[in-house]
């Protein structure tokens, strides 16, 4: 105010406005009055009573203000996060005014709740409340034995109301009833108390106070039955029995009001049966009783209706319409409802009071024995009318008639005859009825070809009766033929695929018949196979018991489905013997089947031709093979295809996009699968070979390349050498200590062992090179990781040399910045690659190692130049590796769509790749195939190295090499050879 006055000129007396005098402002002003006076108005702040800033200007408040003293979280007023999924539905949360109030507001509100002070607490309600709160508080403080809020619900502190106290003072004792005179006086009071109590208990809907309440004596609204009189006497005591509400009634509804005996009955059952299914039964039973009692009981639950002093309506009557569904639960429900009396029959505890156990019950559980299947029962469905036709045809064989000229008709007739023979007369009738209008089927009703049909039918019957094998005319019906193809396919492991051209009879009609044939074949095959076995094939003739088992087996096999494992026939056999025999049977059955179909035209398979002991032995020898193995046995030598199964976890989003339910929903991620080493080694031999062949050529190519790109490549090559270093050896222990990645190590360990010797040599060289880049970083890293880093004391000379070199390299780097950048980007792209077992890898390291060894040696004599050249060499060598990889096997080479893969072309491509480098430097953005090739090869090469961050990995390695190199002074012959190679190259370069 004062400051305002400073700024403006006022006339008259300013009116003191009401709103300016709000307490908060006053306070705030008072608090900071001293400050305010001294500050100009634009620096004054409005604060609330607690000294917090409540108003924020656009320029002074903003983000932090909102966060620090208004909102309470960085995100501001974060809306309630809504999550809902198929499994986890969003819950509807009951919101309450209290959810939206601040603490201080709640505190304010606290004072507004009305309550009776204990002084006027006539009915003890407030006292109870207070006591409850007290107990709650207490309970919070001490750890409860039973965790959770349970004790609070169970134990309710009982308080005595003033009324009770008064009564007690008047000489009333607990347990005595208050007679009518009292009842009237108490009625209203109790009612009030009840209502108040109801309000209280509604906070806690789970808790229900039932039963022995003092309400019982309000005779005005609920005239007590006289019988209850003596019970009442004990009911005046407020006994708080808390029953968890487990039923579906309204709060306070008591179905046992008029039948307290049932409550007693129910309790033990409740405690014994706490199942999910029970509640339903229980409720239905109770509902029945509740209805029988006529009216709903008075209680807390019917508050509104209670007010009417009239008879209560049965508000619950409609709720139970499923009354009848669980009649079984109730012992004699009908009687119960009809003649319930207040007779107390305490003799029998198990019975309901007032009931006796019936001496004779109408109800009897009827159980029927499963029908006995006759021994000779053949499990196949027969149409009702087949037999008579059989007999009829048995007697008079119709004369042999020449078939009709129309071949279609002939086929049709034969087909129908076969069908009818197998399926019975009913089928004939059916098809006659169906095809009445069709002239083609006129033979059924005596038209053309009827004679032929009759003959065919008879023949078919003969076949059916005797053996389907015996075709009198030696003709195989089309159905049989098809069966043959099918089963052959089965034997060969083929999948039956529809071939339209397969049909021998192209006409439409016959295909129809054909289809029907197939159908019946499918259904009838089993029957035919079983029935014919006993007659024809007895592969185990010499052993009747075995033969019997075999037949049993066949029967089961063709019946499908139920296969009795506990065959009584083979009861005394051992498990292994049974298994072997089973295989025998399988094989024998297979052969029988084959023979049957293969030699369809033969009258009879010579009995037990294939199954004389020798034949059986043949099968036994191959006992390990199951039926399926028989099919694939010709492939066994190749061992392919080989099927393996693994766990695989699809991401949940993928499942969602495929509209499938995530099979792993809610489960932790499975452990990464360990790759089998066989995978790694599949192409190893190839790659090694091709490496050897290709190397000389590649080296030559690279020499030219080295010459061409003398300057620019230095930095690049060093960078790449760096990459290569990490490819070469992986110091297993250190590496593992840092990145324990199974799949990496597994592949690498092999390599490490193999190339141990060369590795040691190469380590020396690697150290020198990688230290150029690594510098001191390694040591700090080592320290960070808590690993012992050996001092590099023994190599002072090298370090100094390195220092010089590093300078130079820096210069080079600056010059070829672009190039570097390109490389880096490429490298970084490749680091994330899966570091899989790699084929070419094995050969790669050894070669490169050797050259590295060389590098060191030459480096010691001619420090500057040699290192440059060495790095170049190593680069070229690395490229060799890449090329080798390319050609290691057909595997990689096909990726080149472009051209054939003769070595000449390969060379050409390589050359062009080198050209590309120059082009690239010149800034031309060509995207030729060569470039692509180069990219791919390079990336391939690196990818094999490591999946981890390059710089870290490589530096660590180099460090590791450093302290290992003491032990590896010797060099192999391979290395010396490589050394020789390098000299001419160097010469060339100088020229």
């Amino acid at each position: 105010m004062d400051s305002d006055e400073d700024d403006f000129v006022f006339y008259g007396t300013p009116i003191q406005r009401e709103e300016d005098l709000t307490s908060r402002k006053k306070k705030a002003i008072a608090e900071s009055s001293a400050q305010l006076r001294t500050l100009p108005p634009w620096k004054q702040e409005v604060r609330d009573e607690e000294g917090r800033r409540r108003f924020h200007g656009a320029f002074t408040g903003g983000y932090s203000a909102g966060y620090y003293n208004t909102v309470g979280s960085k995100e501001g007023w974060a809306p309630q996060s809504f999550t809902s999924s198929r499994k986890n539905r969003a819950e509807v949360r009951q919101q309450n005014i209290l959810n939206f109030l601040d603490e201080d507001e709640k505190a304010d509100l606290e004072g507004r709740f009305l309550g009776t002070s204990s002084q006027f607490d006539t009915f003890g309600f407030t006292a109870a409340e207070v006591a409850r709160k007290e107990a709650e508080k207490e309970q919070k403080q001490r750890p409860s034995i039973i965790p959770g809020p349970v004790p609070d619900e169970i134990v309710l502190p009982a308080t005595e109301s003033v009324g009770v106290k008064l009564l007690l003072k008047m000489g009333w004792t607990r347990g005595r009833s208050i007679k009518d005179s009292h009842a009237d006086a108490l009625y209203d009071a109790r009612r009030q108390a009840r209502r108040a109590f109801l309000a209280f208990s509604s906070d806690d809907p789970k808790v229900k106070i039932t039963g022995s309440e003092p309400i019982k004596d309000d005779s005005e609204s609920f005239p007590e039955p006289p019988a209850n009189e003596d019970i009442q006497s004990s009911k005046n005591t407020p006994v708080y029995v808390l029953n968890p509400k487990q039923d579906l009634y309204g709060l306070g509804f008591d179905p046992y009001k008029y039948a307290p005996e049932f409550r007693e009955k129910k309790r033990p059952r409740l405690s014994s049966k706490v199942g999910s299914g029970y509640s339903k039964n229980f409720s239905s039973r109770d509902s029945l009783l509740g209805l029988k009692s006529g009216k709903s009981a008075p209680g807390f639950g019917i508050g509104a209706l209670e007010e009417l002093d009239a008879e209560d309506e049965d508000v619950y009557a409609t709720g139970y319409e499923f009354e009848d569904t669980h009649v079984q639960e109730i012992e004699e429900p009908a009687k119960l409802s009809l003649e319930f009396q207040k007779k107390k029959d305490q003799k029998d505890q198990d019975n309901l009071p007032g009931f006796r156990v019936a001496s004779n019950s109408d109800y009897k559980m009827e159980r029927f024995e499963a029908p006995l299947i006759p021994k000779d029962f053949v499990p196949r469905h027969a149409f009702s009318g087949p037999l008579e036709i059989n007999h009829k045809n048995h007697g008079i064989p119709p004369p042999d008639v020449p078939p009709p000229e129309d071949s279609n008709l002939k086929i049709l007739i034969e087909g129908v005859a076969n069908l009818v023979a197998r399926c019975g007369k009913l089928y004939e009738d059916l098809s006659r009825e169906k095809n009445q209008s069709n002239p083609l089927f006129s033979f059924l009703s005596g038209g053309t070809g009827h004679d032929y049909y009759a003959r065919k039918l008879w023949e078919a019957h003969q076949k059916c009766i005797d053996q389907p094998k015996q075709h009198l005319d030696g003709k195989v019906p089309p159905g049989m033929k098809r069966l043959t193809a099918e089963s052959r396919g089965q034997i060969l492991g083929e999948r039956p695929l529809e071939r339209t051209s397969h049909d021998p009879s192209p006409s439409d009609v016959s295909t129809d018949v054909q289809l029907q044939f197939n159908l019946t074949d499918t259904f009838m095959k089993s029957a035919a196979s079983i029935s014919e076995i006993p007659y024809s094939e007895k592969p185990f003739k010499d052993d009747p018991a075995k033969q019997e088992r075999f037949e049993q087996f066949l029967k089961e096999k063709y019946k499908g489905g139920l296969r009795s494992t506990s065959s009584s026939l083979a009861g005394d056999m051992s498990e292994a013997a049974r298994a072997r025999e089973r295989l025998d049977f399988e094989a024998a059955a297979e052969t029988i089947e084959k023979g049957k179909q293969g030699k369809g035209n033969k009258l009879l398979i010579p009995p037990s031709m294939d199954f004389i002991p020798g034949g059986v032995m043949q099968f036994t020898s191959g006992a390990a093979e199951t039926k399926k193995d028989l099919q694939t046995e010709d492939l066994m030598g190749k061992m392919y295809p080989k099927r393996e199964e693994f766990q695989w976890r699809p991401s949940s989003l993928l499942c969602k996009r495929f509209d499938l339910i995530d099979p792993y929903v809610g489960k932790p991620t499975p452990a990464p699968r360990i790759r089998s080493k066989i995978d790694t080694l599949i192409f190893t031999s190839d790659s090694v070979k091709s490496n050897k062949v290709e190397k000389p050529i590649a080296v030559k190519q690279d020499i030219s390349h080295v010459q061409e790109t003398a300057n620019q490549d230095i930095s690049e090559s060093i960078a790449e050498v760096d990459v290569e270093v990490e490819n070469i050896e992986r110091p297993v222990d250190l590496y593992k200590a840092i990145f324990s990645d199974d799949s990496d190590d597994e592949g690498e360990e092999l390599n490490v062992k193999k190339t141990e010797n060369q590795e040691k040599k190469a380590e020396v060289a690697n150290t020198a090179l990688s230290r150029l880049i690594a510098g001191d970083f390694l040591e700090s890293l080592g320290k960070e990781l808590g690993l012992e880093v050996p001092p590099d004391m023994p190599y002072p000379a090298q370090i100094s040399r390195n220092a010089v070199l590093q300078k130079e390299i820096i210069n080079e780097n600056a010059r070829s910045g672009n190039l570097m950048a390109e490389n880096n980007s490429e490298m970084s792209q490749n680091h994330g690659l899966p570091n899989d077992q790699d084929i070419a890898h094995e050969s790669g390291p050894s070669k490169v190692d050797a050259i590295y060894g060389n590098i060191l040696e030459s480096g010691s004599t001619k420090p500057k130049g040699s290192i440059i050249s060495n790095s170049k060499l190593s680069r070229s060598n690395r490229e060799n590796g890449d090329d080798d990889r390319k050609l290691k096997s057909p595997v990689t080479s096909h990726r080149d769509y472009s051209s054939s893969l003769s070595s000449e072309e390969e060379r050409k491509r390589k050359r062009s790749r080198h050209h590309r480098h120059r082009r690239h430097d010149a800034g031309s953005d060509s995207s030729s195939d060569d470039e692509r090739d180069h990219h791919s090869s390079r990336s391939k090469g690196r990818k094999k190295g490591s999946s981890h961050e390059k710089s870290r990995g490589s530096r660590k390695h180099s460090k590791h090499h450093k302290h290992r190199r003491h032990e590896s002074p010797s060099r192999s012959s391979h290395h010396s050879m490589e050394k020789d190679d390098t000299h001419p190259r160097k010469e060339k370069r100088r020229m």
């Binding site: 695929l497 080989k642 693994f646 695989w648 495929f658 099979p663 595997v891």
Partner: protein, 299 residues
């Protein structure tokens, strides 16, 4: 269908591609074909009338595979530029580019609902990309392969990939199982039978192998053609009666599915036949070759 019904008569030659055509695919109803090639373009054709309809240019390197959604509204393609492109067919614009493969991408396919593109890469991985969201990150990377993945097939619930490591791996999303069928030979191309029960795998030992998907059994081997160094396509005819595939000598072969006999072979191109695609309903086939032509074959 008899042997006479095999599409052996040349009905159209489509010459627009400069350089090798690497892939040719019928669309869902067989009215159009899409081709892609070394000239970095994807081309849309009407093979029945021999009309070139549209060219899709955006790839930076050769395009190796292309697939179109069943409703013909979107395309996906992949190639040497390590990206998977998601195109709008009508406008010819790239809707999204999925980067992440660390090598060339060999094959792409849409899933049934066109919501996911699955790509198979030289980086030994299969990646599933989400077309619905704007995320360009793969929603799943399958990297259990030990070598370049050459081909991919999708069913309603499965992702099937064929790899140079000699395996055909089936990833069942519903069961969370991976089934690996090792054939022992680099797998170039996989193709589902129309009944969905079999997989035809073109291997680099000049053999096509027919696998039972449920059991992993080798049902049949088809030999006679040459396929030793190129990625050649193979497929079954639309009634699953014959197996067809190109050869590196420019021939097209037809085998009987059941007895594996060569029922027909004829010289179709002057150079390697890279891709074949069979019409979904009619007796019609298109082939693409390194010689830069696409030929349409009818009976």
């Amino acid at each position: 269908m008899s042997v006479e019904d095999l599409p052996r008569k040349e009905s159209n030659v489509l010459k627009e591609h400069d350089g090798a055509v690497l892939g040719v695919r019928f669309n869902g109803d067989g009215n159009y074909i899409l081709s892609c090639g070394k000239d970095r373009t994807i081309r849309l054709w009407n093979p029945h009338r021999g009309i070139h309809i549209k060219t899709y240019k955006s790839h930076g390197r050769e395009v190796r595979d292309v697939h179109v959604t069943p409703d013909n509204s979107k395309l996906c393609s992949c190639g040497g530029d390590r990206q998977v492109f998601y195109w709008d067919v009508a406008t010819g614009r790239v809707i999204r580019k999925f980067r992440g493969h660390d090598g060339e991408v060999n094959a792409v396919k849409f899933n049934e609902y066109s919501s996911v593109v699955v790509s198979a890469g030289y980086d030994q991985s299969l990646r599933a990309w989400d077309c619905r969201s704007h995320s360009t990150e793969p929603i799943q990377i399958i990297d259990t392969f030990a070598d370049s993945v050459m081909s991919v097939c999708l069913t309603k619930t499965e992702i099937i990939g064929g790899s140079v490591d000699g395996t055909v791996r089936t990833f069942d999303i519903r069961n969370g199982r991976e089934t690996s069928d090792s054939l022992g030979q680099p797998v170039n191309c996989i193709s589902m039978s129309n009944d969905g029960n079999c997989i035809l795998a073109g291997c680099l030992d000049s053999t096509l192998r027919l696998l039972d998907r449920s059991t992993g059994e080798l049902l049949q081997e088809y030999k006679g053609h040459t396929n030793k160094s190129y990625k050649l396509d193979c497929c079954l005819t639309n009634n699953d009666a014959y197996v067809t595939g190109g050869s590196e000598d420019g021939y097209i072969y037809f085998w009987d599915l059941v007895d594996a006999s060569v029922v027909s072979r004829f010289r179709a191109h002057t150079s390697v036949v890279t891709s074949v695609s069979y019409h979904p309903k009619e007796n019609c086939m298109v082939t693409a070759s390194v010689d830069g032509t696409i030929r349409v074959w009818k009976t």
